[in-house]
């Protein structure tokens, strides 16, 4: 898919994520659409495309988020790349994409928190506080389950995109 489509598509998804999606909270958490898209695309198109999508989606999420810059970009690039490594095996079983999404969400959220903790400072000189155990139990687990449920549906939709735009692929050189 050409970069001229990837950027507006992910920007639109980021905008929806920052406005509408938080209203769909279940168990106190809401789906992470940019993450789900990046992982799905990585699983479909390999590490290179996963990395590229992770970069674009990460920049957009970081723009909308109050977290330090890079807190979303770095983990999204990482999960996009790692998801891409499982490209050839993950669609052999319909349960593998949700499992991959579950693990990717855990990895992404933990890496996000790690970056939040080590970078930046808040007003009044206080650093970002991370409550690891509480976040793991109350947020990350529920979020991983929710994203895994979406992985039953979204990668199928992404396959349509994949077939439609496969000939227009743009790699890192296209940036």
């Amino acid at each position: 898919m050409t970069i001229y489509l990837v950027i507006p598509l992910l920007a639109l998804v980021g905008l929806i994520q920052a406005t509408f999606v938080p209203r769909l909270a279940v168990w106190g958490v809401f789906p992470d659409l940019p993450l789900v898209l990046v992982v799905s695309w990585g699983l479909l198109r390999g590490p290179r495309q996963g990395l590229l999508w992770g970069f674009v989606a990460g920049i957009i999420v970081d723009l909308f988020s109050g977290a330090p810059f890079g807190a979303a970009t770095v983990p999204l690039m990482a999960v996009g790349f790692i998801a891409g490594l499982g490209q050839t095996i993950v669609f052999r079983n319909f349960l593998l994409p949700p499992l991959a999404m579950f693990l990717a969400t855990m990895f992404y959220d933990l890496m996000f928190l790690f970056i939040v903790q080590i970078s930046g400072d808040l007003p009044q000189g206080t650093g970002h506080i991370v409550e690891w155990s509480g976040s793991l139990v109350r947020v990350i687990g529920a979020s991983a389950v929710l994203n895994a449920l979406l992985a039953f549906v979204i990668p199928s939709g992404m396959r349509v995109l994949d077939r439609r735009f496969r000939h227009q692929d743009v790699g890192m050189a296209g940036l």
Binding site: T19, G28, D32, F64, V116, L122, P123, Q124, G134, V139
Partner: protein, 282 residues
């Protein structure tokens, strides 16, 4: 008799028939003939008149239908316009109510210089991640907003400004784990620190064991530390966790602000946190 001759005779025949009719009428013989003719014609007349009435009805119905359709289109357009008007007026009503509430807050806190702001819910509203709790507002440096300014609604404390742009600002909510607010309970005057938790329900920590804290107590900002003004409502205690071996007790606080349905907030622009003043002084 040729056809030509017959044609010449027709006027005479007609005149003769009329004259004959007059003679028959004058002789009183017309009425039975008329009765017989009328009796024979009545069913035909009735059928015809009914058919005509039906045709007339049909054309009238078609005309009515056309008019009704036209009227319906007009009424639907009017209905849509009125619905839009109702929606607009309701929006104005809600906005007016919000502003009235905020005004009440402003009037009850006359020492604050207050700057009103809208949350840009449709554009850059909320934090896109589950792990952070921020809101983005549509006012920034241009409107006099600066970092650390407290953000409130008529229902209580929302948070403080953490980032500012020219026309936007970001608010760190009191429900974020990085947020901490010095607080005091209304009835027992117990002091503590209200901190956010990952699930969005803040806790009041560091409450001395000697203090009595009970469910239902309201929690206000204490003003200690100089980060927030005094006496801004934070929430209500819903549970108390107390262990004899701990130095402090902890209470779960249900914020009075509904963070999921925030539309308008107030930024207290004249309040300068102590640490910020110290930083500027350096």
């Amino acid at each position: 008799m040729t056809r030509h001759r017959l044609r010449r005779l027709i006027p005479y025949l007609l005149i003769a028939a009329v004259l004959g009719g007059l003679i028959v009428q004058r002789a009183g013989l017309w009425q039975p003939i008329e009765g017989l003719l009328s009796q024979a014609a009545a069913p035909l007349q009735k059928g015809l008149s009914q058919a005509i009435a039906q045709v007339q009805g049909l054309t009238q119905t078609a005309r009515d239908l056309r008019e009704l359709r036209q009227r319906n289109v007009e009424l639907e357009a009017e209905n849509a316009r009125l619905l839009l008007e109702i929606v607009r007026l309701r929006e104005i009503e809600v906005e007016a109510a919000l502003q009235r509430d905020l005004l009440n807050f402003a009037q009850s806190h006359p020492t604050f210089d207050i700057q009103g702001a809208h949350i840009v819910g449709l554009v850059i509203g909320r934090d896109p991640t589950n792990l952070q709790r921020y809101l983005t507002l549509d006012v920034g440096r241009k409107a006099g907003v600066a970092r650390n300014m407290p953000v409130v609604t008529n229902r209580g404390l929302v948070g403080r400004i953490s980032d500012v742009g020219e026309t936007w600002s970001r608010v760190l909510l009191i429900t974020d784990v990085s947020s901490s607010v010095n607080a005091i309970t209304q009835s027992s005057r117990a002091t503590g620190l209200v901190q956010g938790r990952p699930d969005g329900l803040p806790v009041m920590r560091d409450i001395p064991q000697a203090d009595t804290v009970s469910v239902g107590d309201t929690v206000f900002t204490s003003g200690l530390g100089g980060n927030f003004p005094r006496q801004i409502l934070i929430g209500q205690i819903t549970a108390v966790e107390r262990n004899d071996y701990d130095l402090y007790q902890t209470a779960i606080v249900q914020p009075t602000v509904d963070f999921n349905h925030l539309e308008m907030v107030l930024i207290i622009t004249d309040f300068e946190p102590i640490e910020e003043q110290a930083t500027e002084g350096q």
